[in-house]
Symmetry: C2
Subunit: 397 residues, 2 copies
């Protein structure tokens, strides 16, 4: 009934990654996860838990769950844990028994100052754990699981790639329908409602909220912005959208741009055409550099140099981010080496990673030209999961 | 476009609660909240944030937001924050400036060992905050916001109550359709799919996942369990469901029970009838005690005494929990004074609280009889938000 294909595949990756980082035991804790999700549980469980629960995975591929009695039956049926310990009252004595039995030299926990996706442990749960382990030596064996989480999320399995590809294709169908639906006089709010309807018709939801982010004309602010009824589609204007869909739990994230022709106008104004080609050129420059082993910042640098050389200001964000179950899927960033991004641009790209490539420039008097594509890193180079936009879509005004 | 009615009403409650608990400043931190929600932000913001963000609320009703540049426009349009500080690079210097200006004697943060809904601060963010405040005296003024969060979530505003009432009514419509849809030979899986369809038809989603929890006959396990294809509807059997819907972001949570008559049978077997009346009696006993000022455990005690006196084993859970935006809405619990529940059964019930009242008993040879109702606490007593089930629904076998 529930499909655990993803969790089966991800759990098989875990022992390899634990060995790679020299971690003997990885402990994920969560409670009331429908209200407060622990992002790691999507990969190693695929179920919601009510009471405080522990999922223990080891480098020797032991898989142990300590869960409230009412949650135990679901974990049993899920089938991936070979030891399930249900409890009614006291959680920590059971956890201690397991730790004593396995006696791991290192215990990795999901906290991180650098990566939100590896920071699912709440501070209150940390305090409870410290009390639960008080007087034992386990309290000194705790460390961050951020390397494991980054690479586990990053190395997409075949089933994960297929889901992202499907989400990207659905987005392209929607983009084609948007092109037929853009009419003079429509407001950003009207466009937003139209896109929501196109998603809903296909049974998919927006990748984030509020999505799409729409910018109509030069006065509108491009960014993660609520749509605005003040900005209306007129001729000689760019319409820009940042949009994506969540389909079967995985997401796409793309930017597309349209131009509304004046009556009698048949081709793009020069400055709009140049902006599009420069943005596209910068994205292709980053794509050229993308292969296993390269550090993320080098892709950003390639895109950034191209656009600056073409005469534009630097963009104030990363040229790409991981994409998967989340829009910002944690871990590796294709970003500049700025303090804000910490270590995230320094990790090496690996085969199986999926990234966005994205940037844009304002065109004074017309609006915003921004592009964003979704790409898979393969051993032999890059595969486009979205069909890159090759020219601005023209709307008859 | 986005409706901020709930956030407007909740933010007006905040200064009163901060004064009540002697807290000068309440600091909520969150990042990538679509992946890792901070439950408090649903009440004080109603938007998703990408970069690390701070929402600062004070007893003097100052409302200050420090957010990434691309998130700032949305917070501006939301309209409830009178100072919005956008940033590109460094977050903590800006936070420090605000703290120095306001110089609060106490700074409440969302961590709690007792209440998941008040524990949205991740441990990694805590570590970053400690570094950001290092060398200042603010690091010693930190405390838990759990009292504020509990009462803020607990004191439902009129708009919140209306949404829960609507979700309960929708659930009752679905329950009526389920009664017409239960057929001999249907499996739990088939029933699950049917209920999912009935929710989807109305544009609502299940309150939790997997929901509904279905128990068909005596061999099936009642609890938070995946449906099972092995258990089929037969005559002389109880069908039990725990179900609820999320509608306009608020949820219902109810249990209902059906009995499948044998050919020629026109009324319930005695032991099934007795079980239903005893369960219903225990819920009414708890309802009798529910009024502002009473501690939660006293309701549990009333229900528990009633069912034990009637000759059943004690149920291994609380007789009720808070209900609202989440199914287990944190804070007050109508539970026994067991170690597992910590302080949560000792809080006083307040007007505006919404609870479930729930329990059930197995009937050997037939299945499970469980009931769950949703109730609002008013100054003058109790209001049923669900229509309490008065007799077992009969299905013609």
């Amino acid at each position: 009934m529930i499909d655990f294909t993803i969790q089966n595949q991800k759990l098989d990756q875990v022992p390899v990654l634990l060995k790679r980082y020299g971690i003997e035991l990885w402990l994920t804790l969560g409670a009331e996860t429908s209200m407060k999700p622990e992002p790691v549980l999507d990969f190693i469980l695929g179920l919601e838990m009510t009471w405080l629960s522990a999922f223990i995975l080891t480098a020797r591929n032991e898989r142990i769950a300590i869960v409230g009695r009412f949650d135990a039956e679901n974990v049993r049926r899920m089938g991936d844990y070979n030891e399930i310990i249900p409890y009614d009252q006291d959680f920590f004595p059971l956890l201690l028994q397991v730790l004593e039995r396995l006696d791991p030299a290192s215990i990795a926990l999901n906290y991180s100052e650098h990566d939100v996706s590896a920071d699912g442990l709440s501070h209150g749960t940390w305090l409870k754990l410290k009390k639960g382990l008080a007087g034992t030596s386990y309290a000194e064996r705790l460390l961050s699981s951020e390397d494991v989480v980054r690479t586990l999320r990053g190395q997409k399995t075949p089933a994960e790639v297929e889901r992202i590809r499907t989400a990207a294709h659905t987005t392209e169908e929607i983009v084609a329908e948007i092109g037929r639906g853009i009419m003079l006089g429509m407001t950003e709010e009207g466009l937003y409602a139209m896109v929501q309807g196109l998603m809903s018709k296909r049974g998919v939801t927006p990748s984030w909220d509020p999505c799409p982010n729409i910018s109509v004309g030069a006065a509108s602010v491009a960014g993660h912005t609520l749509s605005d009824a003040r900005f209306k589609v007129e001729t000689s204007m760019l319409v820009h959208m940042d949009l994506g869909v969540r389909q079967n739990e995985y997401v796409s994230d793309m930017q597309r741009v349209w131009y509304v022709l004046r009556p009698g106008e048949s081709k793009l104004p020069e400055e709009v055409k140049k902006a599009f080609e420069d943005v596209r050129g910068a994205i292709l420059a980053a794509a050229d550099v993308l292969k296993p082993g390269v550090e993320g910042w080098k892709l950003d640098q390639a895109a950034r140099d191209t656009i600056v050389t073409a005469g534009y200001a630097e963009f104030q964000h990363a040229a790409g981010h991981s994409l998967g179950r989340a829009v910002h899927d944690g871990g590796n960033l294709l970003g500049p080496r700025w303090a804000r991004y910490g270590q995230s641009p320094y990790h090496q790209v690996e085969a199986g990673n999926v990234f966005t490539l994205e940037l844009g420039v304002p065109v004074p008097g017309f609006g915003f030209v921004g592009l964003e594509e979704d790409v898979l890193v393969r051993e032999d180079g890059l595969e486009w999961l979205s069909y890159p936009q090759e020219q601005i879509f023209l709307i008859k005004g």
